[in-house]
Symmetry: C2
Subunit: 333 residues, 2 copies
């Protein structure tokens, strides 16, 4: 195993978030499941946009947010995802590079527009996402650069990648190359509805050791094993994955390996504004801890700190230096 | 004079703001005058964008912000400005309509892209703008609908309109139609550098009574009369304009008509985040007061309240209901 060029390389849907406040009655009228991510086509995207209020555009995408967070902590980060050569594609590319992330995926010059997600933020801070995948669905195995994957300590993949057809193959190709080069592969289950769509395939990925580290929240974990019993589901995941990291919102997180289970509390916040990116930034802090060889407890605390930063403002990317915040909190960075 | 369909109709540059935090050293390195608005071409836009940090896109444009604020207070509002049929043009059109504003200007289907402004927000909340006018510069007299102008109680124009060549003629056409229909015409001087570019023309507009109400901040006022003496400049403007409204940041504002001068304090804030839109939203509150037939003192207070809302968050459009805030502050709406 040669020295790595990147600490973490993420592969995911390259998305620009279009965020607006919305009352819960709006979600009901539009038939949206609060807190979930739904895939929408162009016609539905147009209808939602017309109905929703004034918005703010901020780069998003689950794995992209995580990787921006990893770079913000000070680690070497790269991202692979597909945008179109349009204005929102330029926005996405600018923002991820300006965050210090290497982003070299070939830009699509034809086909659908850059992906966007209409994110409705409820008064209680919960977000409900409606994603038009657009150009993101054209990510394919050809976009996976074997040398870049081989040179990355950890490959991080989002479960949402199972939605675009060819991205799944890109995902598997990256995992194979990573393991051939003795690198680790992490997966986030992304969303309980996403687990509902791909349960068997996700279980296969875990059981076949295609992925080593699994990130999930409570809803995703219990959906994966189709049980209401959190402890039972966690025991099962722990027996199947090398490392299971389960977030529990204000209850903090649980890190479970073969030999131990570590519970870590949430990081205190002043005001919950927008939960968009909470799980993504948790993963950023946790992965950064792994990169630095920290304990599971410290990894969990770094994750909690990053999640706390991102839920106190609009948008799913950090607006402060996570490195500085971690130092102030007495955490090693 | 027939009953008006719109209380305020604004004509201005239709712009999407691209906001990022920047240290003052960045402004110095880039040769930017802190707090000002500079016009940039495509090459300079690309260079600034590449150098600046991760950003947030939010609809902007000076008069457009004012008109969104007027609608937010509950008045009937319309906007005239030019965008291209591209993604940022869709964003602008969506946001202003979602704010409750009538926006019917023909969209450009060829030519330059929708205008954008790279807005650098300093740690002290001051903003420095770099504007690529793009499609906005193609606003022309043909875009002025005589019937719509005739049906609007107040026409509100931004000084920045003097930058795009044909917009100036659109501006003058609107003013003539407005006065033929016994409507009022208001102008904001926009920016001290803008006053520097068009001093004589702005003075002509005031002296020829092409505009009735003039909005300015201290720097714009003293630049207009090329003096450092605020009182002297105010006396001069008061003698030339029907109504002069001068904002003085944390010192509040001064409203001067032929018969009286009214000073109004600033509205208290918790934290200054981003001054983008402060003057625009002040004008929104003031114009709303005029529409409701309120006293100069109450107009000034409504302006101060709206400015206070917008400087406490990122972006130049209100994020709360100004109507509700005004009620809570005991102001008539």
């Amino acid at each position: 195993m040669t020295a790595a060029t990147y600490d973490v390389l993420g592969i995911g849907n390259a998305i620009v978030d279009i965020l607006a406040k919305a009352e819960d009655t709006f979600l009901t009228e539009q038939g949206m499941a609060k807190g979930s991510m739904a895939l929408i086509d162009e016609a539905r995207a147009a209808a939602i946009y017309q109905a929703m209020g004034p918005a703010t555009e901020i780069s998003g995408g689950s794995a992209a947010n995580t990787i921006a967070g990893v770079a913000n902590f000070g680690a070497r980060a790269a991202f692979v995802g597909k945008v179109r050569n349009d204005q929102l594609g330029n926005v996405f590319s600018h923002d991820i590079r300006a965050a210090g992330v290497t982003f070299e995926t070939q830009v699509a010059t034809s086909g659908p527009a850059t992906a966007c997600s209409y994110v409705l933020v409820s008064p209680d801070g919960e977000r409900t996402m409606n994603t038009y995948l657009g150009a993101a669905q054209d990510l394919s195995p050809a976009d996976i650069d074997a040398k870049q994957i081989a040179a990355s300590s950890i490959i991080y993949l989002e479960g949402y990648l199972w939605d675009p057809k060819d991205a799944k193959d890109a995902f598997l190709k990256a995992s194979i190359i990573a393991h051939e080069n003795k690198r680790s592969v992490a997966l986030t289950l992304s969303d309980a509805f996403c687990v509902g769509r791909y349960r068997d395939e996700f279980l296969d990925l875990i059981r076949s050791k295609t992925v080593d580290i699994v990130f999930a929240n409570e809803a995703e974990l219990t959906s994966l094993y189709q049980t209401d019993d959190f402890d039972k589901a966690l025991t099962q995941l722990r027996s199947e994955a090398s490392l299971a990291v389960v977030t529990r919102s204000e209850k903090g997180c649980v890190v479970a390996s073969k030999d131990k289970v570590t519970a870590v509390p949430a990081f205190p916040i002043k005001q919950l504004v927008d939960t968009t990116g909470a799980g993504d930034l948790f993963a950023a802090g946790f992965l950064f801890g792994i990169v630095r060889g920290l304990s599971h407890d410290q990894c969990g605390r770094l994750g909690a700190l990053a999640a706390a930063e991102v839920i106190q403002h609009i948008g799913a990317r950090p607006q402060a230096s996570l490195k500085v915040l971690a130092k102030e909190a007495g955490l090693p960075v």
